[in-house]
Amino acid sequence: MSQPQTACLPDTAGQANELDVSSFGGLTGFAVLDQNGCLVSANARLLELLDDRVRGSGKLDPFSLELHSHSAKELADALTGTDNANLQLDFSNGVRRYLQLGQLRASRRLLLISATHFEESSQADPELDALTGLGNRHRLQQTLSRLESDRTRLSAPHGSTLSNDAPAILLVDIDRFKQINDTLGYRIGDSLLKLVCSRLRRLTTESDPLLRIGGDEFLLVLHASDDAHNAIDLAERIVDLMSRPFLVEAQQLDIGVSIGIAFFDEQTPDSATLLQHADLALQQAKTRGRRQACIFQPSMAVDAQRRRALEIDMRRALALQQFRLVYQPQVDLRSGRLVGFEALLRWEHPVRGMVSPAEFIPIAEDTGEIRRIGAWVILQACLQASLWPDGLKVAVNVSPLQFDDGNLPEHIDTALQQSNLPPEQLEVEVTEGLLFQNPDAALAQLSRIRQMNVDIAMDDFGTGYASLSHLSRFPFTKVKIDQSFVRGAVDDRTQALVSCIISLGSSLGMRTLAEGVETSEQYRRLQESGCDAVQGYLISRPLEAGSVGNFVERCTRQIQGGDVAA
């Protein structure tokens, strides 16, 4: 600082209009500074807290206070700037003081020094996020209401707001942020958030409100002047920029963001709905694989609504006995004999009618309801199979989620005991997905189940990512060849693949069963390839539990005359 050195000692105070703080008592040091950092007036406590370092010059000179260089620099910045400041002063001798600088009037600033932290509440704005300085969740309501009142004010007399120049909100969510926080700690997580915030700010203008409304969620408002293309372009730029590496504390961090975009158009009644729309679009961006932006479509709201209703109905379905099992016969290809049934879950809702498993199973898995439903399926299948003659097998589908609590072997054991079904008559079918989500826990439980003499089948083989090493590592007793390899026009390559799976299975000591067999041509081909068993419409559609007995009887009669399928 090279300002002319004016003689300015604390006792020049007392002039007209000059605030005199020299008589202020208490534990806080007070001073009034002029624009050169000279003390116009100060109380005794201030001089004491600064260890008399300012008494000689009468000036708050950052570089002669014997401060640590970082504190000296911060203080110098605060003094040259005009903003209010809140600093921590670290002296070279290890002493720490806290400083606040506020504006009094044009050329005067009020300085406060304390040995302890100033009350946070006197400073911190409850609507501002302390980390990023952005508005927080508390500011959200205000931001949204403003958007609403702007719309009312601006909307054309005939209410013909085009969606193209409607305001938009962008909900920006950091993918995998929790993982970074958990593995690298909050400090790195916080630094990362600051960088994310500054990258967002770099792409937006100061007049676009930007809020941090959740740990890793930001909301950006784009005003009506921006057309739809702008919002989408911007979202794409944000996705691009956030996918670039971050460097924090000498570590490379790779994140990405998903973005939901919603326009405050005529069809959106209020700002709360707008926020829901952006959220639905965000969920869509995430399910599509993250690192992308999605725009809200009305169909998303319809789907979400239907899904929510379905979720509610599903929670009641067990108690209301709307679920039942049907059984699809499985036939041995060598003997033509009926060997067992696959139990399939059906949900018949009094109003909706039949709800497809393809629709309700994913929802049951999402909500965790699958655990209760899955347990019911196992018990029900065991109970019904125990009534069948001749040791026919029952195959039950198990969701990867049923392995989560580690107690699947116990649940199966209980079902076997309650039903008195011999364990070798039960087969558990698992999908390839299980092998990826938590392979170690899955392997441990499958091994225990196998030790109980229950069979284990890999379902839908060839449709996912299961590799040969999975087949050999897990205790499978059967491979089920997916119907997509069996049905329809089967070309030579597919046929070769099927033959390959069959010989692979048999060389690993597993049985093979082909699903979806519809024609006797397919039946014959599989028979020739050495496949062990089949199921499909050619044999029979899935049967109601009550019809199984009849079917078994018919098969026994037919078998004396030849193949079931013949």
Binding site: L241, P245, V248, A250
Partner: protein
């Protein structure tokens, strides 16, 4: 400067559009601000440009490297940044250069050619030291 030294080596794709002249101007502009700003914060390093690809080595005090790298990250004149190295170092390789430059040249070392020719290359397969040394060799040959 007592802070620990670190080094960042990355490769990125050029996204500058336009003719050669425009490209040259942009690169001059990049080098201009790089050299000015790097000198201020104690960063040294080298930038290579070839066949649409940048390779850069940044070395200096960790905080300065982080701040500079963040700024460079946000530069839309390149994209698809792949980090090759990000590590503490004991000494600088380019202590004489606030940002040395190796432009379109005939004698491009094999390791860089390989990088330039592979699209969607695997960063883990690139040896940071090799990039570092290759650029250095080019500089000292001058």
């Amino acid at each position: 400067m007592s802070e620990d030294l670190m080094r960042v080596v990355y490769v990125s794709q050029n996204t500058i559009e336009g003719d050669d002249e425009c490209l040259t101007r942009q690169i001059e502009q990049i080098l201009g601000s790089a050299r000015r700003r790097n000198r201020e914060v104690g960063i040294t390093g080298a930038l290579m440009f070839n066949r649409g690809l940048f390779a850069q080595v940044l070395e200096g005090p960790a905080t300065a490297v982080e701040e500079t790298f963040e700024r460079i990250q946000c530069d839309l004149r390149h994209a698809e940044v792949v980090m090759v190295a990000c590590e503490p170092i004991a000494t600088r390789s380019f202590d004489q250069w606030s940002m040395a430059y190796v432009g379109n040249r005939e004698q491009v070392p094999a390791v860089l050619l390989e990088m330039a020719n592979t699209t969607g290359f695997d960063a883990h397969k690139i040896d940071a030291d090799a990039v570092n040394d290759a650029i250095r060799t080019l500089l000292t040959d001058e």
